[in-house]
C-alpha cells in the first residue's frame, strides 16, 4: 500500500514536470524542434542498425539489398503478402529478412532496434502517399 502510494506520488510528480513547461494545447517551436530532434536521433540510429553487420549472423546488412531503404515500400503495409498467404505488417517482413538472407534471429516487434529500422525506412520514404494493401 505504502509502495503504491509512493509510486503514484512519483508518477504524479513526473507528469507535473513533463506537463509543467506550458499549457496543454500549445506546441511551441521549441517543443517541435525537440520532438523532431528526438525523431532524427532514431532515424540516425535506424541507419546504423540498417548497416550493422551484427544484426544478422552472416555479416550481410539490410542496405546491401535495400540502398537508401529502397524497395521496402513502408507505405503499402499492412498488406497481403502473397508469399506468406496472409496480411502482414512491415516488422514481420523485416524479421523475415533478418532470419533468411541475414541468417539471424527475429527481433521483438517493440525492440528499440526494430523501431529504429522502421523509423529509418519510413523516413527514406517520406512524402509518399499511404497505400495500404498495394502491390
Amino acid at each position: 500500500m505504502k509502495i503504491q502510494l509512493a509510486l503514484s506520488l512519483i508518477l504524479t510528480g513526473l507528469l507535473l514536470v513533463v506537463a509543467g513547461n506550458g499549457s496543454a494545447d500549445e506546441f511551441t517551436k521549441q517543443d517541435l524542434k525537440l520532438w523532431q530532434d528526438e525523431y532524427m536521433v532514431v532515424v540516425k540510429e535506424g541507419r546504423k542498425v540498417f548497416t550493422d553487420p551484427s544484426l544478422g549472423n552472416n555479416g550481410v546488412v539490410c542496405a546491401q539489398c535495400h540502398p537508401n531503404g529502397a524497395n521496402t515500400h513502408p507505405e503499402t503495409y499492412p498488406k497481403f503478402q502473397k508469399q506468406l498467404g496472409r496480411v502482414t505488417q512491415l516488422w514481420e517482413m523485416v524479421n523475415w529478412c533478418i532470419r533468411n538472407p541475414m541468417e539471424g534471429e527475429s527481433l521483438d516487434a517493440d525492440d528499440p532496434s526494430m523501431t529504429a529500422i522502421l523509423t529509418y525506412i519510413a523516413h527514406e520514404r517520406r512524402g509518399k502517399k499511404m497505400a495500404p494493401g498495394k502491390h
Binding site: G59, A70, N71, Q83, P101, G127
Partner: protein, 351 residues
C-alpha cells in the same frame, strides 16, 4: 541458326532454371564461320563470415553460374567476369571466389570492380589476375577492359586504413563515397590503344560501372563517361557491357549500344524507387521484374547476347516472368524490347 542452339543446349537442358550468366554471341561482318560466343558472369560479392565460412546465398549464385556456363552449347570461346568477385576484397574472399571460378572450363578475362579494389587498391586482385586494364583481339573483334571505378587520390588517401576505405565504398548508398571515373591516365592509354585499331573493327568495351550517367548517389555512374564515349565515337560499331547495377539496363548513345549484365549475388532496386532523389535511367530501358525476395535467385535471370552484325541482341530468361528479347532495331538504330518496348510491363511496376 546458332541462336537456337543456345536455347536447346542451355535452356532446354535446364528447363525452368535460372541461369545467372550471360552468353554473348559475336557475329561481326565477315563470314559466319568467324562467329564466336563468349559468356558473361558478374557481381558475385563472395562474402566471408569467418574462417572457412562464407555467405551461402552468394556462393550458390556463382557456383550455379559456373556450372551452367560449363554446360553451354555451343561452348563459349571465353568467359568475361564483370567485377565484384569479392564483397570487401580480402585475400580470403578473392581466393574463395577464384576457387569457385576455377571449376570454369573456359579461359576467363576479369574486369575489376570496386569491391575487389578499395581494401588494398587492387594489389591482391592484380597479383592473381593481372593488369587492371588491357585489351585483346579475338577473331576480328577488339576487346577493351577498363578499370572504371577509380576515384581521385584525395579521396583514396583520406582514410585511416584500407578497411575503413573499403567499408565506406562497399556501401552503395554511403554518402561518404566518391564518384567513379576511368581517369586521365587510362583515357590516354585507351586513346593510344584504339589508334592501332581500324574504324571498321567492331569494338566491345567491358567496364564495371556504366560508361554513362544514371544515378550518382549509387555510383550508377562514371564521372568522365562522356570523355570515354568521345574516344569510342569514331568506330562504326561499339558495344559497352557493364556490371555493377545488378539489374537490366540498356541504352543507345550515338553509335554506342549499352547493356548491363546481371549479378549472380542479388538484384538491386531501380534508382527511381528511392523517392528522395532523381535518377536518369535511360528512357529506353524497360525495367526487369520486381524481385521476389523469397526466391533467392530471382532477378538474377539468365541472358545470352548475340552481337549479330556488330549489334546486340539480349535474350533474358526470367523466372516466373515472360522471356524477353532486347534486340537492335536497325531502323531506329537502338536496342528495343521486341515485345514490351512501348507498353511496358504493367504488373511489374517499380515504385
Amino acid at each position: 541458326m546458332k541462336r537456337r542452339n543456345f536455347l536447346k543446349g542451355a535452356a532446354a537442358m535446364l528447363a525452368g532454371s535460372v541461369l545467372p550468366v550471360s552468353l554473348v554471341e559475336v557475329a561481326f561482318g565477315k563470314g559466319r564461320e568467324e562467329n564466336f560466343t563468349f559468356a558473361y558472369i558478374s557481381d558475385s560479392h563472395i562474402q566471408q563470415i569467418s574462417g572457412k565460412e562464407f555467405v551461402r546465398n552468394f556462393d550458390r549464385g556463382l557456383i550455379r553460374a559456373v556450372a551452367e556456363c560449363n554446360m553451354m552449347d555451343p561452348k563459349p570461346d571465353f568467359v568475361i567476369y564483370g567485377g565484384d568477385l569479392a564483397q570487401i576484397g580480402t585475400r580470403a574472399e578473392i581466393d574463395h571466389g577464384l576457387e569457385i571460378m576455377s571449376a570454369c572450363k573456359h579461359k576467363t578475362h576479369y574486369v575489376l570492380g570496386e569491391h575487389d579494389f578499395y581494401l588494398d587498391l587492387g594489389e591482391y586482385w592484380q597479383s592473381q589476375l593481372g593488369p587492371q586494364w588491357y585489351s585483346f583481339d579475338h577473331k576480328g573483334v577488339h576487346f577493351v577492359v577498363l578499370n572504371s571505378i577509380i576515384v581521385d587520390d584525395k579521396w583514396i588517401n583520406k582514410w585511416g586504413s584500407g578497411e575503413e576505405r573499403m567499408g565506406v565504398m562497399a556501401g552503395l548508398d554511403n554518402p561518404l563515397g566518391s564518384p567513379f571515373m576511368v581517369g586521365a591516365k587510362q583515357r590516354d592509354w585507351l586513346k593510344k590503344d584504339l589508334a592501332k585499331v581500324s574504324r571498321e573493327t567492331p569494338l566491345v568495351v567491358l567496364s564495371h560501372s556504366p560508361l554513362q550517367k544514371i544515378y550518382k548517389g549509387w555510383n550508377f555512374w562514371t564521372d568522365d563517361a562522356e570523355q570515354v564515349q568521345d574516344l569510342l565515337k569514331p568506330f562504326k560499331k561499339v558495344n559497352v557491357f557493364y556490371g555493377h547495377v545488378h539489374q537490366v539496363q540498356y541504352n543507345q548513345i550515338g553509335n554506342i549500344s549499352f547493356h548491363s549484365v546481371m549479378a549472380t549475388a542479388w538484384p538491386w532496386p531501380y534508382p527511381a524507387t528511392y523517392s528522395q532523389d532523381a535518377s536518369q535511367l535511360p528512357k529506353l530501358t524497360v525495367e526487369m521484374n520486381r524481385a521476389d525476395p523469397f526466391f533467392e535467385r530471382d532477378a538474377t535471370g539468365w541472358q545470352f547476347i548475340d552481337v549479330w552484325s556488330g549489334n546486340t541482341s539480349m535474350h533474358l530468361q526470367l523466372p516466373e516472368n515472360q522471356t524477353r528479347t532486347i534486340g537492335f532495331n536497325s531502323k531506329r538504330q537502338r536496342p528495343e524490347d521486341t515485345k514490351y518496348q512501348t507498353k511496358g510491363i504493367a504488373p511489374q511496376e517499380h515504385y
